[in-house]
């Protein structure tokens, strides 16, 4: 079955024509596969994979693991070469480049020896296509939205499993293992997940530790399953045992801030304002200082083939939101009331506003 995204391919060809690029390379490595997968929707398993799109619309690929040849060939319908050393693979791929102008999506992440090989074969340093391609990817196709809906549904079910598994005495990493096993068993290709547990000493989320959950703990997580390449995220906080007054007070502020973002988000809105309305809620309650980088990172971010796509939802970041963008708004930060707390939904921007793709109840959970 072909796994080329025809709409995207057409958009990339139009981009090439606008920019005067003769060849566009899509470079993915194990960490940043999205730069490859935005054209070829195959989860390669070797260290790197590159697809070449010519201005005539031909797609050729080179992979660095022999097990990737067959799936990538089936996905592109075009020739696929196997080269354990990508430098040699790129030289073969670009042997007819001559004086062609070559652009690379993912150039920044590409090992320097690979970009030097591209330069050698095309007589000029490659230009970066990353920002232009990201801009195209930011607005999702209807098919992509369906995949993100499926991922959001799995995030909901994954969080339900999180709540049912969490109990005092269990370590953080055992809890993560339960959720990871659940989402994989139900079709997740991957899952980005951070966690933390405890009280006011907790200032951030991180990978799970061997700390045992205790009665009174806030257990915070962002859960981000990936279906067919696309991520959706949910952020919720759970208390082991009955919540304290301060935990409830803290949750109310987070819920108000997230709702403010959800109420504002629509086409034409500056992403900076989506951050500002969340921060204003904290300011109103006397916690304005906890909206800065000392206590938090971002008030949300774009979602898609990468779990932390740009634009970030920050007061210092300006971007005009568009219909069919998918953004998580999460006012996650540290507060002295209850320590670091998280709360957020995956939101789809519609013509007149936005809808949440997350169905999990908006409340402070309890185990």
């Amino acid at each position: 079955m072909l796994k080329l995204n025809p709409q995207r391919k057409q958009e990339f060809l139009e981009l090439m024509a606008r920019r005067g690029w003769d060849m566009l390379l899509f470079y993915g490595d194990t960490w940043r596969k999205e730069h490859f997968r935005c054209l070829v929707s195959v989860c390669f398993t070797g260290p790197q994979a590159v697809a070449l799109l010519t201005k005539e619309g031909e797609v050729r690929a080179v992979v660095t693991h022999p097990w990737d040849v067959e799936p990538v060939k089936a996905g592109t319908g075009g020739p696929v070469a196997y080269a354990p050393r990508l430098v040699e693979g790129l030289k073969t791929l670009l042997r007819d480049a001559g004086n062609a102008v070559v652009a690379v999506n993912g150039l920044e992440q590409m090992e320097a020896r690979f970009s030097l090989a591209v330069k050698e074969m095309s007589a000029a340093a490659p230009v970066s296509a990353t920002a232009d391609v990201e801009e195209i990817r930011r607005v999702k196709t209807q098919e992509e939205i369906e995949w993100i809906r499926k991922a959001a549904d799995l995030a909901d079910r994954g969080y339900e499993h999180f709540v049912s598994a969490a109990r005092a005495g269990m370590t953080e990493y055992e809890l993560v293992a339960e959720v990871e096993g659940f989402v994989k068993a139900h079709g997740a290709e991957d899952n980005f997940m951070l966690v933390a547990s405890g009280g006011t000493e907790v200032t951030a989320m991180k990978p799970p530790t061997a700390r045992k959950l205790q009665v009174g703990d806030s257990v915070i997580t962002e859960l981000t399953p990936q279906i067919n390449g696309y991520y959706a995220q949910i952020c919720r906080t759970l208390i082991i045992g009955p919540p304290s007054e301060k935990q409830l007070q803290s949750y109310a502020i987070f819920a108000e801030a997230q709702q403010a973002a959800q109420d504002l988000l629509r086409p034409g809105v500056d992403i900076s304002d989506v951050a500002r309305v969340q921060n204003d809620v904290f300011r109103k309650h006397g916690f304005g200082e906890y909206t800065g980088s000392q206590y938090t990172r971002v008030r949300g971010h774009n979602l898609g083939l990468y779990p932390d796509e740009l634009p970030h939802v920050l007061e210092s970041s300006h971007y005009t939101c568009k219909k069919d963008m998918v953004i998580i708004c999460h006012p996650n930060t540290y507060l002295p009331l209850s320590g670091y707390m998280v709360f957020g939904d995956t939101l789809l921007v519609t013509e007149t506003g936005c809808v949440s793709l997350s169905r999990t109840e908006k409340r402070l959970f309890q185990a």
Binding site: D29, T30, W31, C43, T45, G46, P47, T64, H65, P66, W67, D68, V69, E70, P71, P84, R85, L107, E108, Q109, M110, E111, A112, R113, F114, S115, L116, Y173, E174, V176, A177, E178, E180, G181, F182, V183, K184, A185, H186, G187, E189, D190, N191, F192, M193, L194, T203, A204, K206, P207, P208, T209, A210, S293, Q294, Y295, R297, Y334
Partner: protein
Amino acid sequence: MKRGLVSWDKNELPAEELAKRLAAVHAVARNRNVDAVVVYSDVWRSNDARYLSNYMPYWNRAFVVVPRDETPMLLCALSPRVYPWIKTVTVHETVIASPSPPATLFKLCDERGWKRIGVCDLEGLPTDLYAELTSGKAEIVDISRSEVRLAPAAVEVRMHARAAQMAREVLEQEITTRIAKNDHELTGRLERVLRRAGAEDVVILVSDGEGPPIPAEGRPIGAHTSVVVAIEYNGHWAKVTRNFSDVTSSLTSPGKVTQLREILSGPYSWENVNDIGDDAIVSVQLQIPANGRHFYYGDTCLQNREGLRVL
């Protein structure tokens, strides 16, 4: 993604072993007349930095900087809010917030009067970092990986062997019980047990006997199914493959069976290269034709001048 238990068990990986590795890098710095040696790290290219300082990122990029005759520093794009945790699982006492690790490195050069910096596998850096580092603000010298990473020591071999043992036990148990009906379910079951056992990362691939091993797609499990389990345990990878028909062949002398050899102690988690050096931890994967299908069988081995030894 890296999201399992990240820890430093000093019984498994003694501080003295890391000190020995650091001393070797100090010697490189002296011999190559550089003021510091830099090792790059990101989410999936973490092996070399992990080797030196036990730093293993769950996100973002970093430089491990080893000044000549000093303890290593970490220039890290992660938030300072996670530095207390980083310090509990690494040798780093100094962690510097660095949205741009090269910019912080140049600042250190100015402050400390460093003129010549060695970078481990310079052309292996991401293009943007390479461009920034080689912009002329300091003299940059390429240091080959083989200068920084010594032949696998007994400690390292034991860690890979432990990872391989975990993968073998869990996979063989799963094949014996035959509970999973499809490859998603199988992947979930393996993932759960391995992560509960302390795996940092797990990658499962499944072959239906018709094509190569690939990530789960919801295909049914049957007699022709082969399963590849790659597992990272405290920074050390192992790869073990079994099939549901118990088709095997000798890993050390596979004869005419198609063989794939991957390095597990290289910069990436696994990399299929033609020129693996003499001493390395490798994965040997066999593709065995039988009954009109392809079966896969493989394991983790120590490769040295004496040949291959399954760990």
